[in-house]
C-alpha cells in the first residue's frame, strides 16, 4: 500500500439511565408501543423546559473514567438546530462548546493507544419509518441520553478500527453505562477514513460512513473505503468529502451528502439549562464506582487463562466478575468451562444472567482437582448448576444426584480391581498383560469402570491394576 491510512471514529452510546436525559419518562422503550414513552417535554409542547437527569451526568463520569479521560468540572449544553420530524424541538440539545468529558485514551488489546479527543452528552433523536406515501414518527427514543465519543485520528487499519470499536463497547459495558445491545442501536459508529501518499505532511480528504452498528461492518466499511479511495487516487481523481452510507448486504458504501450541501446547525448555548458545575469530590466518588475494566482483567488473568480464551471471555463482564470472585487455583478450570460449555449453549445469554455462585464453582473446580470428577463429570455438573431446581443445592449434592463422583476410595477400588482380575472373562487379558501386552490394560480399566458403574477414577484404577499385575 503506497498510502497512509488515517481513521477517526465517532461513537454514540445510549446510556441505560432509568429516565430520559431531559424528562422523567421511562428511558427503556424496549417492547413498548410507539410514542408511549414520551412526555410533553419530549414532544416539545410549547412552554416545556428541559430538566437534567443527574444519573446521566454520573454515567458520563464513569464512561469518561473508563476511557482514562479528564472530567471537566464545568460543562454546558448547546442547541443544534435542524428541521426533521425526528427532532420535535427543531434542535438537538448537545454539548458543542463545553463537553463534560475531556481528553483521554483507549488501549487496544494489541497495546496500541487511540486518543480520545472529547466526549459529550446529548439527547438522541426519534425514529422514522418510511412507507410508500407516508412516514411514521416514533418519539420513544427522543432524548434518550447519549454520549458521543470522538477519537483522534489515531487508527491506521481496518483491523484496528474494528478493535477500537470493540474495546470501546467492552469499556462501556464494564463501566455499566449502557445495555450494549448493538443490534438495537445502543452503540453506533461513524467512521472517518482518509488516504494520503506515504510521507505526506497533510491528511487526505476524508469520507464519513455513518451509522454502523457492528464491529464487522466497521471493519468491512473501512476496507471498502480504503480500496475505493485508493482506486480514485491511483487514477489521479479526487476523493470528495462527503457522508456515505453502508449497505451491509452489498458490502459497499454509497454517497449521501457532500460537504457543499452540509447543514448549518446554528449552534447556540441552551438558555434553559444552567451550566453543570461538578465538585472534585463528586467526580471522584463517581469514578470510584467504576469496577475492574478489561485491561485490569488482562493483567489479573494474563498468566492463568490462555490469551485467546481470555479475549473471548472478556466480551462478557459478568464472567469476568465471576472469575474475579474465585481463588487462583479455580480460575483456569472455570474459565475453560465458561468458554467451552456456557458460551456454546444455545441459551447462553440467559445463562449469563444466572451464573452459579462463586462457592459452587470453587467446589466444582476443587472436586475436579481432587479427582472426584472427570472432565466430563465436571461439565455435566456445571451444566446442571443452571437448572432452576439444582442451582439451589451445593455442588457436591448436584454431583451426587448425577451420580458422577468418581470412586477414589482405594480400598473399595482395590476390591473392584480384584474382582475384575478374578473374573474368568478377563483371564485372557490378564494373561496377555502379564505376557507384556500393554494394550490390554485399557480393556481392563474399562472393565473396572463398568464394574464400578462409571464411578471409578480411571487413572486410579489403572495404577492399581498395574500394581496388582506387576
Amino acid at each position: 500500500m503506497k498510502y497512509e491510512i488515517t481513521i477517526g471514529i465517532e461513537c454514540h452510546v445510549q446510556l441505560a439511565t432509568k429516565t430520559k436525559l431531559f424528562s422523567e419518562v421511562d428511558n427503556d422503550a424496549r417492547g413498548k408501543e410507539p410514542n408511549s414513552c414520551v412526555s410533553p417535554v419530549d414532544y416539545a409542547l410549547p412552554g416545556m423546559l428541559p430538566r437534567l437527569n443527574g444519573e446521566a451526568i454520573k454515567f458520563a463520569i464513569r464512561a469518561g473514567k473508563a476511557m482514562n479521560c479528564i472530567i471537566n468540572s464545568y460543562s454546558r449544553f448547546d442547541r443544534k438546530h435542524y428541521f426533521y420530524p425526528d427532532s420535535p424541538k427543531g434542535f438537538q440539545i448537545t454539548q458543542f462548546y463545553h463537553p463534560i468529558i475531556g481528553e483521554g485514551y483507549v488501549e487496544l488489546p494489541s497495546g496500541k493507544k487511540v486518543r480520545i479527543e472529547h466526549a459529550h452528552l446529548e439527547g438522541d433523536a426519534g425514529k422514522l419509518t418510511h412507507y410508500d406515501t407516508y412516514s411514521l414518527v416514533d418519539l420513544n427514543r427522543v432524548d434518550t441520553p447519549l454520549i458521543e465519543i470522538v477519537s483522534m485520528p489515531d487508527i491506521h487499519s481496518a483491523k484496528d478500527a474494528h478493535d477500537y470499536c470493540k474495546e470501546l463497547w467492552r469499556l462501556m459495558c464494564y463501566a455499566g453505562v449502557t445495555n450494549g445491545d448493538l443490534y438495537n442501536g445502543n452503540m453506533r459508529f461513524d467512521v472517518n477514513t482518509s488516504l494520503a501518499p506515504k510521507g505526506a505532511d497533510e491528511l487526505g480528504t476524508r469520507t464519513e460512513v455513518k451509522n454502523l452498528n457492528s464491529f464487522r461492518s466497521v471493519e468491512r466499511a473501512v476496507e471498502y473505503e480504503i480500496k475505493r479511495q485508493a482506486k480514485l487516487l491511483d487514477a489521479g481523481e479526487k476523493v470528495i468529502q462527503e457522508t456515505r452510507g453502508w449497505n451491509d448486504a452489498a458490502g459497499e458504501t454509497t454517497g449521501q451528502r457532500s460537504k457543499e450541501e452540509a447543514k448549518d446547525y446554528r449552534y447556540m448555548p441552551e438558555p434553559d439549562i444552567p451550566p453543570v458545575r461538578l465538585s472534585d469530590d463528586f467526580i471522584k466518588t463517581e469514578m470510584e464506582k467504576v469496577p475492574m475494566l478489561p485491561n485490569d482483567y488482562r493483567e489479573k488473568f494474563g498468566g492463568v487463562i490462555a490469551e485467546d480464551t481470555l479475549e473471548v471471555l472478556l466480551d462478557y463482564p459478568q464472567l469476568m466478575r465471576k472469575l474475579g470472585e474465585l481463588s487462583d487455583k479455580s480460575i483456569k478450570n472455570i474459565a475453560n468451562l465458561f468458554s467451552s460449555v456456557l458460551l456454546a449453549e444455545e441459551k447462553s445469554t440467559e445463562m449469563l444472567e444466572q451464573l452459579p455462585t462463586g462457592k459452587q464453582l470453587e467446589d466444582l473446580s476443587e472436586m475436579k482437582e481432587k479427582g472426584e470428577l472427570s472432565s466430563t463429570g465436571m461439565k455435566e455438573v456445571f451444566a446442571k448448576l443452571f437448572d432452576p431446581q439444582m442451582k439451589v443445592k451445593d455442588t457436591r449434592a448436584v454431583a451426587k444426584e448425577l451420580n458422577v463422583i468418581q470412586e477414589n476410595d482405594t480400598g473399595a477400588l482395590e476390591a473392584i480391581v480384584d474382582s475384575v482380575i478374578a473374573d474368568p472373562a478377563c483371564a485372557q487379558a490378564v494373561a496377555d498383560y502379564k505376557a507384556g501386552s500393554e494394550k490390554v490394560l485399557g480393556f481392563l480399566v474399562g472393565q473396572v469402570m463398568k464394574a464400578s458403574r462409571g464411578k471409578a477414577n480411571p487413572g486410579a484404577a489403572q495404577e492399581i491394576l498395574k500394581k496388582k499385575l506387576a
Binding site: P40, Y43, A44, L45, P46, G47, M48, L49, P50, R51, L52, R79, H81, F83, P85, P88, K89, G90, F91, S135, V137, D264, Y265, R266, Y267, M268, P271, D272, I273, P274
Partner: protein, 465 residues
Amino acid sequence: MQIASKDVSAVDMVRAALDKAKKYADYNIFISLSEDAALNRAKEIDEKIAKGEKVGRLAGVPYACKDNFLSKQGATTAASKILEPLKAPLNATAIEKLEAEGAIMIGRVNLDAFAHGSSTENSYFGVTKNSTDMERVAGGSSGGSAVAVALDIVPFATGTDTGGSIRQPASFNGVYGIKPTYGTISRYGVVAMASSLDCVGFLARNTEDLNLLMEICAGQDPKDLTTLPDYYTKTEKKEPKKIGVIKDFDSDAIDPAIREVLRQKLSELKSDGYDIVDLEMPILKYALAVYYIICPAEVASNLSRYDGIRYGYRSEDAKNLDEIFGESRSDGYMKENKRRIMVGNFVLSSGFYDAYYLKAMKARTLIIQAFDDAFKKCDYILAPVSPNPAFRIGEKVNDPVAMYMEDILSVTLNLAGVPGVALPVGKTDSGLPLGLQLIGPRRSDKNLLDFAGKIGFKIDDKEGK
C-alpha cells in the same frame, strides 16, 4: 382587591367581570372567554365558603390570562395562527399556583403573536385598543392584559416581559406592572419567546395586589431549572435613600411630557429627603442592538418546534416534508415572527456567530456589570419605560426599527436580569397615561414594589394623588 366571602360571592364577582368583558368587546381585549368554566369554579368556591371551609388568598378573584400561558381551561393561541388553538394537557406553574389560591381565569387576552411586538398590532386576532383612546395602541406585547386591568374588568392579569412587554402596556394604560428578577417565577408552561430574557409577571391596579401575586407565584420550580429559590417572601424590609437617574436616557429622543414627569417626580423625591444620584451608563446605548441579536436568536430557536408535524397548523397544500415545514410556517406566522426568525437564524449561522451573537453576549455581560456598579451608588433607579406615550394604531407597524425603538429603555432590564416596576405617574395634556419604571438590583422586587406604590398614582382613589 376583593376576595370572595360570605358577603361577596365569587359567582357575582366572576359574572360582573364577564359582563364587563362583553361590554368592552370593542376594545378587542379577549381572544376567548371561558364563561362556563369560570362560573363553575366560582360556584365551587362559594360552596366552600358556605360550608365554612378554608379558601385561598385569591378566592373567587377573576383574572385575565395573557394567551401565551398553558392551562387546561380553554385553549392557548399565543395570538398566532400556527398554534391552531392548542388544548393543553397541563397548567403553567404560575397558573397552577394562582388557581390553587382560588383565582378564576375568565378568559385569554390578546398579545402580539408569540409576544413579538410593542403594540398588540401583530396579533392574528386583531389589534387591542388603548383604554383611554381607542385610536391608539394598547402597547405590547401584554396589551390585552393592560387594557383589561385599566378598564377594571379584572383586578389583575398575567403578563410576560421579554423586553418591556409588561411595563410598556402598563404605562400606556396607566396601571402597575412588574417584571420580576429573572428566574423569580417559573416559565414552565409559558410559550417561550426568548428563554434567557423571558419573565412572568403581573399587571394590577396597585402594588399591594402585585405583592400578593408575587408572594403566591415566586419560588423555585423543579420544572424550570432557571428559577431561583424563593427569596421574595423572605425579603427584609428596606427603605431606599438614594434614587438614581440615568443621564444617558435624558435625551431629545424622549417625549417632552415624559421627561417632564420624570423631572417632576425626582424633585418631589428630593424634597421628600431622598438623594438623587446622576448615573452615567454609556454601555446602555448598545442595549437595543444587543437585545435585537440575542432575542431573535432565541426566538428563532424556540419557534423551531412549530413545524406542523405533531400539533398546530399544517398547510393543506403541502405535498412533501419540506413543504409541510415551509408552507405551514409561512402561513402560520405573522410578519414580525418571520422577521425575528430570519434575523435570529442569520446571527446564529456559521461564520456570523462570533461577530453577532458572541459579541452581543459579551456586551450583555458589560450591561450586567453597569447595573451592578450603578446599584453601588444608589438603591433604585427611576426611568422612563418608553420614549413616548401610547401612539396611534398603524403609526409604527410598518416601520420595524421605529417599533423596536419603543423598547430602547425597557430591554436593558431584561438583559441585566434586574426587576422593574411600571407605575402610573401622570397624564399628558390630552389625557394619555404617563408611566415610569422603578428599577432595582436583583432580588429587590418586594421592596421595589413597596416603594413604587408609595410614589405612584393611586388609581382607585377618586382624588388621585
